[in-house]
């Protein structure tokens, strides 16, 4: 009888301590979770700013002059050929045309 009582008492005490410990751990975890959540919010806010900045830097209004300065321009049908053979013929013709005025000049 006594043993049962003592055991129950000890068990109660132990579980109380255990629960207290768990409670304490939970609070600690909660603080950590809050910290993480804050970090996530900050990261998301940073991402939003960076995304907006990237879109701002990549706006066509800015890219167009830069691309044109690189010698780029909109694609034209001159760059298209129906078949590889035709592309080759055209390239050869262009090369020939480029050479002939030079030859004349010489």
């Amino acid at each position: 009888m006594r043993i049962v009582n003592l055991a129950a008492f000890a068990l109660a005490l132990a579980s109380a301590f255990l629960l207290y410990g768990i409670n304490y751990d939970t609070r600690l975890l909660e603080t950590r979770v809050q910290g993480e959540e804050r970090a996530i919010d900050e990261a998301r806010s940073d991402i939003a700013v960076l995304k907006a900045e990237r879109a701002h830097l990549g706006r066509p209004e800015r890219i167009e002059p830069l691309a044109r300065a690189q010698g780029l321009r909109p694609a034209s049908e001159q760059q298209l050929a129906a078949s590889p053979e035709e592309a080759m013929t055209r390239a050869l013709a262009q090369a020939g045309a480029a050479r002939s005025p030079a030859a004349k000049a010489n």
Binding site: E30, E64, A82
Partner: protein
């Protein structure tokens, strides 16, 4: 629990027992033990209940602040996922009048950071000590916020708020609309976002988790249209310009630009009358482009065939005034020639053949008389003549006497060219797996084909008014329009809206382009004329030459083979997600 034997001390014959003595206080001890146990179990129970309750966070936000919330809005992206509008965190400065020590010092020091500060206003606000919350300035950049912080003034504090950012600047400004200081949509797509998509009321700068709103606009196409229009305004010294690119089958709007432009980040700009949206927010008498409707009516109703000859040599009397051709050819013209020479007399004759009733019904069928709406807001309602008499029939046949918004007209023209089925304009991207909308036929497929032939002829024929819109690699068809602008007491001389309505590839139109130039001058670039053939048509050609490759519509015309430049349906590399 067994009942303990009660010792009976009074019995003399009872042998002295140790055990009963030891158990002398048995009941009491049992009771104590039980109470302790009960207490312990109660404590455990209480802990369990406490832990089981939803955890209360340690941080309790003060809700006593007398400020309305801020709204978190979803991003707006173009059809390829490129960002058009987004929320970013900004700092807003407020003062707690009760904590302010020296009003004058605050005002003077703040004025050093904000030179345009309303000093007397702030001084007055801070004078009322009961006000615990006075906005000083909202939406500050981190740098300015730091400057204010460095002043070290008591009573000032910051709140983190969300502010709408438009990374493209003025790009698609009219379509996007704008938001108010609390980040609520007021106009354009921003208003649609509030009303249909939803925004979240937030207390601090918490971004929303909602999915971005995907528009049908294509950033690249929009930019190409805007930059070509700006260029055209400069070359032809026009007061304004507008351009529209529409999917002729689905009604998706790929670009909608109007100049002078507006900046969504500066809402006051949108209130200026001159900056009103010319695509959807205003109506115009569009002039000769309206002949596409007249010709379609004549062909659909069987009032004429393409080779029917009309005698257009004599000016036509229409009530008090006379209808003339701008450049009379001096011989009878076939219906095709009426279209490519843009003969007003010919168009008026065709409309008269059909009669006012039929014209009105046809215009009604095409949806040019009903009020239309897009996600951007209601389209400006058409301005209709008070009565449809013979005179109105003649003037409407060449686009005068009936004013309609360019968007509504482009939508009607799409139906004439896409095989004859109805199109509803939208600013939202269609889901790729969405079922095609049920086709509502407005005109017959045969009439639509004739219209495409006429439009193509107008560009390929050496006499066509649209020949300057031709671009190698694209099969373009189009119609010019040079409409005089009504002023006080009649139409104004040489003040015109010149426009060009084009579709490409014309044999199976995918895209419709509509370009308008407002009051262009007879500059050298336009050979000293204000005709659409010399300003709007070449501008449209340049636009198509730029947007065609983006849309994957270019074909190798050198051999007549139509090899597609690249697969436009593949997601672009620059896609955001």
């Amino acid at each position: 629990m067994s009942v303990s034997i009660t010792p009976q001390r009074g019995e003399p014959d009872a042998p002295p027992e140790v055990i009963p003595r030891a158990r002398a206080n048995g009941p009491l001890r049992t009771l104590i033990a039980m109470i302790v146990m009960a207490l312990a179990f109660m404590a455990v129970g209480a802990q369990l209940v406490r832990l089981a309750l939803p955890s209360q966070s340690d941080i309790t936000s003060s809700v006593s602040e007398t400020v309305g919330g801020n709204y978190a809005r979803p991003d707006i992206v173009d059809r390829n996922g490129r960002l058009l509008a987004s929320d970013v965190e900004a700092y807003s400065l407020f003062a707690d009048a009760a904590r302010v020590l020296d009003r004058d010092e605050i005002v003077e020091k703040l004025a050093s950071v904000f030179p345009d500060l309303d000093r007397s206003g702030v001084r007055k606000d801070l004078g009322d000590r009961t006000r615990r919350f006075v906005w000083i300035r909202r939406g500050l950049s981190p740098r300015t916020a730091q400057e204010v912080h460095n002043l070290g003034l008591p009573g000032l504090d910051f709140r983190r708020e969300l502010r709408r950012a438009y990374p493209g600047g003025t790009l698609a400004g009219h379509v996007l609309g704008y938001v108010n200081i609390d980040n609520r949509g007021v106009a354009g797509i921003e208003r649609y976002v509030d009303e249909q998509v939803g925004v979240d009321a937030v207390q601090s700068a918490a971004l929303t988790e909602r999915a971005p709103v995907r528009l049908s606009l294509d950033l690249g196409v929009q930019h190409a249209v805007e930059s070509e229009l700006e260029d055209a305004m400069r070359r032809f010294e026009a007061k304004g310009a507008a351009g529209l690119v529409l999917d002729a089958n689905t009604g998706e709007i790929l670009a909608s630009a109007s100049f002078p432009e507006v900046d969504p980040a500066r809402p006051t700009m949108s209130l200026e009358a001159a900056r009103a949206d010319k695509i959807a927010g205003s109506t115009f008498e569009l002039g000769s482009v309206f002949k596409t409707v007249t010709l379609a009516l004549a062909l659909e109703g069987g009032y004429a065939k393409l080779d029917t000859v009309l005698d257009v040599r004599q000016p036509l009397a229409a009530g008090a005034f006379t209808i003339r051709d701008l450049h009379p050819v001096g011989r009878p013209l076939t219906v095709s020639e009426v279209f490519i020479h843009s003969s007003n007399i010919g168009a008026a004759m065709l409309a008269t053949r059909a009669g006012p009733q039929k014209l009105q019904t046809f215009v009604q069928t095409l949806g040019l008389m009903t009020n239309m709406q897009t996600e951007e807001g209601p389209i400006a309602p058409p301005q209709l003549p008070s009565r449809w008499g013979p005179v109105e029939t003649m003037t409407i046949s060449y686009g005068h006497g009936l004013a309609v918004s360019p968007l509504q007209f482009a939508v009607a023209a799409s139906a004439l060219l896409n095989g004859g089925h109805k199109v509803l304009p939208t600013f939202l991207k269609r889901a790729p797996d969405a079922e095609p909308a049920k086709e509502v036929p407005l005109v017959s497929a045969a009439t639509s084909e004739r219209m495409r032939e006429l439009m193509r002829l107008n560009v390929t024929d050496p006499a066509g008014t649209g020949r300057r819109a031709a671009v190698p690699g694209f099969a373009i068809g189009g119609k010019t329009g040079t409409a005089e602008i009504p002023g006080p007491g009649g139409y104004r001389e040489r003040a015109v809206i010149s426009s060009f309505l084009a579709a490409f590839p014309i044999d199976k139109p995918k895209y419709l382009v509509f370009v308008l130039l407002f009051e262009p001058k007879p500059t050298h670039a336009a050979s000293g004329e204000v005709l659409a053939a010399l300003n709007a048509a070449p501008t449209t050609g340049r636009i198509i030459a730029r947007i065609g490759p983006i849309l994957g519509m270019m074909s190798a015309s050198a051999t007549g083979a139509s090899g597609v430049a690249f697969d436009g349906t593949l997601p672009a590399k620059y896609e955001a997600q």
